[in-house]
Symmetry: C2
Subunit: 180 residues, 2 copies
């Protein structure tokens, strides 16, 4: 990639980051292009779909997930405490942007999604937790089921503008259902 192209790419990502945070994922792409000081064509060449732009914006986030899972695992406690803490973290992580939970949870199901890197990170994190749980986990549950169950809750809370506290009781239900 030519140096000027790389520069423009960065400018677009930065403008998109701001726009997504303040206006949500519906922010008009032409506006983002304008804010970045480039033409619409340039934006669409770098990011053919809205999704691929979202993906680029969320790059840094992958590292946060790996940090979080390490921290949760290190803290110890019962399996129930571990799982609940992880799910709380999980919800927070996928809720960084408005509309994030649904977007990420859906992308989980779609191998062709431009967000699959992010999904793999999350699934890998879930797998680490599952390993630590060992025999305490209901048999047959995998990282994808974690993602769906908790992602479903996070989506409802996010899209319904529910207070963050309403997550806890729902997660407890799921946690108790997941442990033997």
């Amino acid at each position: 990639m030519r140096a000027d192209a790389a520069r423009n790419r960065d400018k677009i990502i930065e403008a998109a980051r701001v726009a997504f945070r303040t206006r949500g994922y519906d922010a008009p792409l032409d506006d983002i292009a304008k804010a970045a000081g480039v033409g619409a064509g340039t934006l669409y060449r770098h990011f053919p779909t809205r999704e691929s732009l979202v993906d680029a914006v969320m790059q840094a986030w992958v590292e946060r997930v790996n940090d979080a899972v390490g921290k949760v695992r290190a803290e110890g406690g019962t399996s129930r405490e571990l799982l609940l803490r992880w799910f709380q973290q999980y919800v927070e992580l996928i809720s960084v942007h408005k509309g994030g939970p649904a977007k990420i949870t859906l992308a989980m199901e779609d191998d062709a999604s431009p967000m699959r890197t992010k999904c793999h990170t999350l699934r890998a994190a879930n797998t680490q937790i599952i390993e630590q749980l060992g025999d305490d986990l209901r048999p047959g549950v995998d990282s994808l089921q974690f993602a769906r169950l908790v992602g479903g809750i996070a989506s409802v809370v996010d899209q319904g503008n529910l207070p963050a506290e309403s997550v806890g009781p729902m997660l407890e239900v799921v946690v108790d259902g997941l442990l033997v």
Copy 2:
């Protein structure tokens, strides 16, 4: 309402029913108006928002819910069986149209939604089940939490185009978490 107005209203609803089923909830409203043989203005007068049109289309559905809850309650069995059967029904009921689960589950949180009639029907049905469960239910769980937990799962399955069988295992997790 004038007779011709009522006639047009019906034509619009019928056209919308077809369009929503075949094209999903994104079907252009102008197209629906055209299919109904009326102008766009007429459609928008009767149904100021897309949501209110969806609401009208789903009217008959309310009766199905009441049937279903009666049947599930009558069949007997353990609390676990009852709840699982109801949740299966619940998912089916809110999945009649593509995009239905998320739409209904979100509307649950919004008293101003034009779909609130439908939501109340569902919550009332949940309440009937909760009553039947009596002391077997985890304390503090209400009809809205039912809606969120099961609605979250249904949304993921619906939007991710997952096979219908994938609902079962997730529901079992939630059921086991909900019973004491």
